[in-house]
């Protein structure tokens, strides 16, 4: 996803009352994260489970929160999603970078990239893939879901090689 759209998505979510952006960096999401850093709205955690823990505390304090991560970190987070976020029904948005979306992506991205949609499905974590044309509608969907006290994932594809 291009830089302008990623920056727009950050600002749209901020304007729509997402107060905290906690996570672990991902090159796929770097413009989104950079926009947040510029506005001093990003909290970087050491691991994704930790990010979800901090974000859960913020939600318990009634402060809407988004957790961002790579899909490697999403794999790290599965137990925390089932035994904290789903167990207590903590409303939050996960933003996950889809490394390995391209077939010729780096070797460390390919397995997780291939199974990511199945992992999301098996976790019963409702999700939408953002793109340049429909991101606003899908962000509105995610915002309405957390207002109704549930958790969802938004996915951004890695469409470049480096």
């Amino acid at each position: 996803m291009n830089e302008i759209t990623q920056r727009k998505i950050f600002n749209y979510l901020l304007k729509n009352k997402i107060e905290n952006f906690v996570g672990v960096p991902d090159s796929t999401l770097k413009h989104f994260i950079h926009e947040g850093l510029k506005q001093k709205k990003i909290l970087i955690a050491n691991r994704e489970e930790e990010a979800i823990g901090i974000g859960t505390g913020m939600v318990l304090a009634d402060s809407p929160t988004l957790i961002f991560m790579q899909n490697a970190g999403f794999a790290n987070s599965i137990s925390t999603i089932t035994s904290l976020v789903q167990l207590y029904n903590i409303p939050m948005i996960f933003l996950i970078g889809w490394r390995g979306f391209l077939k010729n992506d780096a070797p460390e991205h390919t397995t997780i990239g291939r199974i990511q949609p199945k992992l999301l499905k098996n976790l019963e974590l409702e999700n939408k893939i953002l793109d340049e044309k429909t991101w606003k509608k899908d962000c509105d969907w995610a915002l309405s879901k957390i207002k109704n006290k549930t958790h969802v994932a938004l996915v951004i594809r890695r469409e470049f090689l480096d």
């Binding site: 905290n20 906690v22 909290l43 955690a45 050491n46 691991r47 489970e49 930790e50 979800i52 823990g53 901090i54 974000g55 859960t56 505390g57 913020m58 939600v59 318990l60 304090a61 009634d62 402060s63 137990s79 925390t80 089932t82 035994s83 904290l84 167990l87 207590y88 029904n89 903590i90």
Partner: protein, 183 residues
């Protein structure tokens, strides 16, 4: 001092402050001794009590947040000390009940007697207190209201066989009443 006695002493001091308690016997002891709606009992996601406590502390700067942690728990999320020490929440009091074992899973050893958790916390900007006796614990609890956090109270406790009853409130209910109580 066994964990139950240490938990009891700390709770007598805490009154209605927020407590986030780690999964396993720590939450069970807290539930049996000092049940209140401003307790967030974890029943899963081991390691994350201090992270949850940090999130609340950042968003509720006028309230004191106590984290009840275990040695196995903090060793599973040691990076949390780095994040807390970097963000320096003044209102966070992190208590580690250290019995050197994973008691909830049958008493298997942790490494907490091979290294010094307090020293690690000190290196990450905590004000630390290392405690072995009830009297020292009481004296420390008297002092902490005048000190800015993050504070670590590291309590060495004996292995005990007593355990509290299971938390029988649903997780959804633990969450909703906690959120209402800390508003």
């Amino acid at each position: 001092m066994i964990r139950k006695d240490a938990v009891h002493t700390v709770c007598n001091f805490i009154k209605n402050d927020i407590i986030v308690s780690a999964n396993g016997f720590i939450s069970r002891d807290l539930y049996s001794n000092f049940e209140k709606s401003t307790n967030f009992y974890m029943i899963g996601s081991m390691g994350l009590a201090s992270s949850i406590g940090l999130g609340i502390a950042l968003k509720k700067p006028k309230k004191r947040i106590f984290v009840f942690d275990g040695d196995g728990n903090i060793l599973m999320n040691l990076g949390s000390l780095v994040t807390i020490g970097s963000l320096k929440p003044k209102n966070l009091i992190h208590i580690i009940f250290d019995n050197n074992i994973h008691e909830s899973t049958g008493g298997q050893p942790t490494y907490s007697n091979k290294i010094d958790i307090s020293k690690i916390a000190k290196m990450t900007n905590y004000t630390i207190f290392s405690i072995k006796t009830q009297k020292a614990l009481q004296n420390t609890l008297q002092k902490i209201s005048k000190i800015n956090g993050p504070i670590l109270i590291h309590i060495k406790i004996k292995k005990g066989t007593e355990k509290g009853s299971r938390v029988d409130i649903t997780p959804e209910k633990i969450k909703s009443r906690f959120m209402n109580a800390i508003e």
